[in-house]
């Protein structure tokens, strides 16, 4: 379980201090797939940076599994916007970099790297550089690299936003599969209402403005069911989220 308690974060702009988070509270249950949706600049990505330990809150506390988050945690993986791949490394080198910087011996990780590259359908391009890949392939590499770390918490910052509709749907399926197979806790940030309802077992709608506020919470237990995308329940939830984003009031 992840607990964000009375969290504060501010940045200084000129002479004033702008609060992004002011006494912000959030609980994420183990194994849930939490989706954060909201307009640009509402602090969604910042929350991921806090959860992965790249940013420190100026006040309050974040605990993961009861442990206070002091520095980057080994079992947390994050997929940043624009995939975060290194252009000078080929696919295989990109995928294994996480293990390499963690000083794992090559003989231990090579079979894992090979297995994940195969699973992600990247075997044919494993010697290609990122500039030679399509958007969908780049996203698979980023996902593969995250999975090699055997995370129990996977954070994703708009992972599918730059992809065409079909690739996007295919990767949404893949993310669902991974979430169900690996029993990960995932936190995904997105702009897309439809993606939020398709991937989130719980969806938080954030408000535009400073500090960040949660304006709606939607429980979505049907997530992952076959054909969910075509059901009326799916559409109802999507419509409800849209109304929240447009500034309407909750039911």
């Amino acid at each position: 379980m992840i607990e964000v308690t009375n969290c504060n974060l501010a940045y200084v702009q000129g002479t004033t201090s702008v609060k992004i988070y002011n006494d912000f509270n959030l609980t994420i249950e183990t194994g849930e797939s939490l989706v954060l949706i909201g307009p640009s600049g509402c602090g969604k990505s910042t929350l991921l940076y806090l959860l992965v330990g790249l940013l420190r809150p100026t006040g309050g506390e974040i605990t993961i599994g009861g442990e206070p988050l002091k520095k980057a945690r080994q079992q947390t993986a994050i997929i940043l916007q624009e995939y975060g791949l290194f252009p000078w490394l080929n696919v295989e080198q990109n995928v294994r970099l996480g293990l390499k910087v963690r000083h794992q011996p090559k003989r231990v990780y090579q079979s894992l790297v090979d297995e994940i590259i195969h699973k992600m359908g990247l075997a044919d391009v494993c010697h290609h550089f990122p500039s030679q890949l399509s958007g969908g392939q780049k996203q698979r590499v980023a996902l593969a690299r995250a999975l090699t770390l055997k995370p129990d918490l996977l954070l994703m910052d708009e992972p599918l936003s730059a992809l065409d509709a079909l690739t996007r749907e295919r990767l949404q399926e893949l993310l669902l599969e991974i979430w169900q197979e690996e029993r990960l806790t995932t936190v995904l940030v997105t702009h897309s209402i439809e993606e939020a309802v398709y991937l989130g077992s719980r969806i938080l709608v954030l408000k535009n403005g400073r500090p960040t506020e949660i304006v709606g919470e939607i429980h979505n237990p049907q997530v992952g069911q076959k054909g969910y995308r075509q059901t009326s329940d799916f559409f109802q939830k999507a419509t409800y989220i849209r109304s929240l984003l447009e500034g309407g009031t909750a039911e």
Binding site: L80, E82, W88, N90, L97, V101
Partner: protein
């Protein structure tokens, strides 16, 4: 693979053609000017071959050693310092004004002083060239590091990378193409400075060889020295080019469309 060989052959033919064109131009110039000051390429090449049996090879070696040594020293000092200044804002804030003031000063004017302090041997030449090339590499590396998007650094941090690994896996590879470009450009400067430094109070090196032949009014020997200087320049240029192809393979692949 076959396409690669074809490319190499095409490139080779291109260079051969350019070389022949320059020789033809030289030949034409020699014929047109009809002055003993400009020997024909044939005469110059014959003199070169003859002198190579003498001490021309030793002069070439000395000059090559001086340029290579100073370039390597510049790289060993300028690259790490450039990486640090590009990444560590506090250090940069302290050092940047110093670099800013020192960089545009023409270091070559210190040659007399350097000769007095370090003597007439290799040290003074290597020091002067290093002084000039070092700044070029330092400034290029620092600017290359500043261009790296912060997301790329965050990406390595998020994988658990520490500060040393950021240097090793992000800053160094990301700045390498720019560093090699600046190295290639510095080669021209380094050889020009070398010539100047070797034409004073010394008896070794191609610069001395050329000026000595000039003072003895032996234009074919002077051109033998010039040919060697050209070969040194082109040779170093090719080495840097090969290094770039080898170390920055990601820059030379066909992009996805």
């Amino acid at each position: 693979m076959k396409q690669g060989q074809d490319n190499v052959r095409k490139q080779f033919l291109g260079y051969l053609g350019a070389g022949l064109f320059l020789l033809a131009l030289w030949q034409y110039g020699a014929w047109a000017l009809k002055t003993p000051l400009l020997p024909t390429p044939g005469a110059a090449i014959r003199a070169t071959l003859r002198l190579l049996h003498g001490d021309l090879g030793a002069h070439l070696w000395i000059s090559t050693y001086r340029v290579l040594a100073s370039t390597l020293i510049s790289l060993c000092l300028g690259l790490p310092l450039g990486l640090v200044m590009g990444f560590e804002k506090k250090i940069d804030r302290f050092l940047a004004p110093l670099i800013y003031l020192l960089y545009p000063i023409p270091k070559i004017v210190f040659l007399p002083l350097i000769l007095l302090l370090l003597g007439l041997g290799d040290q003074s030449k290597i020091f002067l060239i290093t002084l000039i090339v070092f700044f070029q590499i330092l400034v290029t590396t620092r600017d290359a590091v500043r261009k790296i998007p912060s997301e790329t650094i965050s990406s390595l941090r998020s994988l658990g990378g520490n500060r040393g690994q950021i240097y090793r896996y992000v800053l160094l590879p990301a700045s390498l193409p720019d560093v090699l470009t600046s190295l290639r450009l510095s080669m021209g400067t380094a050889i020009a400075v070398l010539f100047f430094a070797e034409s004073f109070a010394t008896t070794k090196g191609l610069g001395y060889f050329i000026m000595d032949a000039w003072s003895r009014a032996a234009p074919d020997e002077m051109f033998a020295g010039i040919i060697m200087m050209a070969i040194l320049g082109v040779g170093l240029f090719i080495i840097v080019d090969l290094l770039e192809t080898l170390l920055c393979r990601w820059q030379h692949v066909n992009n996805h469309n």
